[in-house]
């Protein structure tokens, strides 16, 4: 039990099943990689690797938070809107008179404040859902609708263009040739995987998702766990928002994070975390996001139009979830 992220009991070998589900997504990823090595021109290059990893980093960061939320049996539709708020706030801070007068402090605040604010909004989601016993899909729908509006109101709907190398290190910087946001992504994935497997909080998340009533009777602080999970999802979304505006050198609250909630949910689903809660596969989510990204890259690199790639993506999501469910019932 200690090294497998599942608290499900009463079924024969759920951990083995979880391992095979993850293995299936991984196998698909390896097949796709092999196909690319054989077919796609110029695939084996550091540039290809960097392009794919930088594109997938924000989705993975958001999906990690989403994985934890889904593991409690919830869902977070607000992540895209929260990204827009964080992305709108950061330039407002370092472009403000204060930020210009104190560049170092301004840049620091531009990192910390937006992520903190968005984390608090995430905690608000959790509070709203637990305090009023609202279904997560409705509870976070409120922030989905209101959040993008808040981002637009903050910037009056205007595009904010900037050039700030210190701040943009999070999106454009490199450490030993590795894009910085890829490092951020790996750190977050590692932290979350460790949390789920090795910490009490991780056990609590799975307990709440597995059987909320039993968890409450066993003394798990259900409401607090949920508030934290949504707050973490908010923090991840905030970080992703900063990465996106840094890469673009501009912030457009109308567009930042648009549709991200569904991309993240798709990555979690393909990664094998069931939507009924009680199990969380953070590494699976990483593999799921990589699989979706590489699939799109493969299709585009081989001359398939982007619109057709969307259709294939839909088929892959349905197929992945279908095969996982067969694996679960078998």
């Amino acid at each position: 039990m200690a090294d497998a992220p599942s608290l499900t009991r009463g079924r024969a070998g759920p951990d083995v099943a979880a391992f095979f589900r993850r293995y299936a997504a991984l196998a698909a990823l390896i097949v796709l990689l092999a196909f690319n090595f054989a077919v796609t021109p110029h695939f084996v290059s550091l540039q290809t690797l960097n392009v794919n990893l930088t594109q997938v980093a924000t989705i993975v960061i958001v999906s990690v938070g989403m994985t934890l939320v889904i593991a409690t049996g919830g869902i977070d539709l607000s992540v895209g809107s929260l990204m827009a708020i964080a992305g709108a706030l950061a330039p407002l801070i370092f472009l403000s008179p204060f930020g210009v007068a104190h560049p170092a402090l301004g840049d620091l605040l531009a990192f910390v404040l937006p992520v903190a604010v968005v984390g608090l909004l995430g905690a608000f989601n959790g509070w709203f859902i637990t305090r009023f016993q609202v279904q997560p899909i409705v509870g976070t729908l409120v922030m989905f609708i209101a959040g993008r509006g808040i981002g637009q109101v903050l910037t009056n709907g205007n595009l904010q263009v900037f050039h700030n190398p210190t701040f943009q290190f999070i999106g454009l910087g490199r450490v030993l040739g590795v894009p910085f946001q890829v490092i951020v992504m790996l750190v977050i994935v590692g932290l979350a995987a460790w949390t789920v497997r090795r910490t009490l909080f991780g056990r609590h998340i799975l307990a709440v998702g597995g059987n909320e009533r039993a968890a409450r009777l066993a003394g798990v602080p259900v409401a607090r766990v949920k508030r934290w999970v949504y707050a973490i999802s908010g923090l991840c979304a905030g970080l992703a928002g900063l990465v996106v505006v840094s890469i673009n050198s501009s912030s457009d609250a109308n567009l930042v994070g648009l549709g991200m909630e569904l991309d993240a949910i798709a990555a979690v689903a393909v990664g094998g975390t069931p939507f009924t809660g009680g199990q969380a596969s953070v590494i699976g989510t990483l593999i799921g996001a990589l699989l979706i990204q590489l699939l799109r890259y493969t299709l585009l690199a081989n001359g398939v139009p982007d619109a057709a790639a969307l259709v294939v993506k839909g088929v892959i999501i349905a197929g992945a979830v279908w095969s996982q469910q067969r694996g679960r019932t078998a």
Binding site: I75, L77, F128, F132, Q133, V134, Q135, I137, V138, G139, L141, V142, M143, F144, I145, A146, G147, R148, G149, I150, Q152, V153, N156, G157, R213, L258, G259, L262, I265, A266, A269, F275, P305, D306, A307, A308, A309, L310, V311, V312, K313, G314, V315, I317, A318, V321, W322, Q325
Partner: protein, 332 residues
Amino acid sequence: MSLESAVPAGPARPGAIAWAAQQRVLIALAALIAFGALRYDHFLGAYNVLSVLRYNSMFALTSLGMAFVIMTAGIDLSVGTTAACASVVSALLSSYGLVPGLLGGLGVGVAVGAINGFMVTRMRILPFIATLAGMLMASGTGLLLAHNQSVSVSYDTAFIWLGQGDVLGFPVPAWIALAAYVYGSVVLNFTSFGRYVLAVGGGEDASRLMGLPVDRVVFWTYVQSGVFAGLAGVILAAQFGAGQPAEGVGWELFSIAAVVVGGTLLTGGVGSVATTLAGVLLLGLIFNVLNFENGLGWISLSAYWQSVVRGVFLMAVVMAGSGAARRALRTA
């Protein structure tokens, strides 16, 4: 454990909660209309009323299909991109006349709805994921057919009448939406299909044991949702003179919000067609009132505030519903 599963299955209580919520939404709509009528000169003027009806008829249609799906405890994320794809197909067919354009749009709806229904009932994929896949497929197909740009409709045929015409002084889209809601109301309240929809949402296993054709009922709610979304797409193309493959983003969540505001529970089993329409009009009129308020000149709120106001409004509705739920539980 048996106690826990018995609580939500009790038929009277969720029904009572939903009924209270449905009364509140009608009162809120009446209050908002009265507020607007008293405060602004032209709020009830023909121009304003007709343009609100013309524009919101598309959301009314997608929300109606969504309401039926939600009553079976499902969800349909594909309505927005289905409408977008349908608008492209109907625009492409509009040069052959009104009927081919209309049938093309409806055909897209039937196809997407059938794929969704197949994934949910045969492949046993959760509705959220299944219709997310359907959403991507419809979006990609629309973009492919339109070559990533909007497709102009033909003005040589009667097609644009579907979006821009008037009958007895009211816009054709409003008549279409009205007919759809009359149909929905009759189906829900007076046909066995409607009763089955509520029964399946109330308890799928129990319905199956009673011998109801659960899979068939669920399948048809998705097809029906697709048809209404396709119809919305036809109106979209006819109203704005172009099939728009990139439209429809966020329509699904707006529709879910309208259904929730209308007092239909996402847990399924209870719902109402008439108050879904009230939910659509409430969310639509909030934007309208905001515009009028800006016109008075006392305040100047940008159009971006409408999302914030809508979100807060949805929150208030959910909180009020939660209060009613607690009261119902106390008295029980």
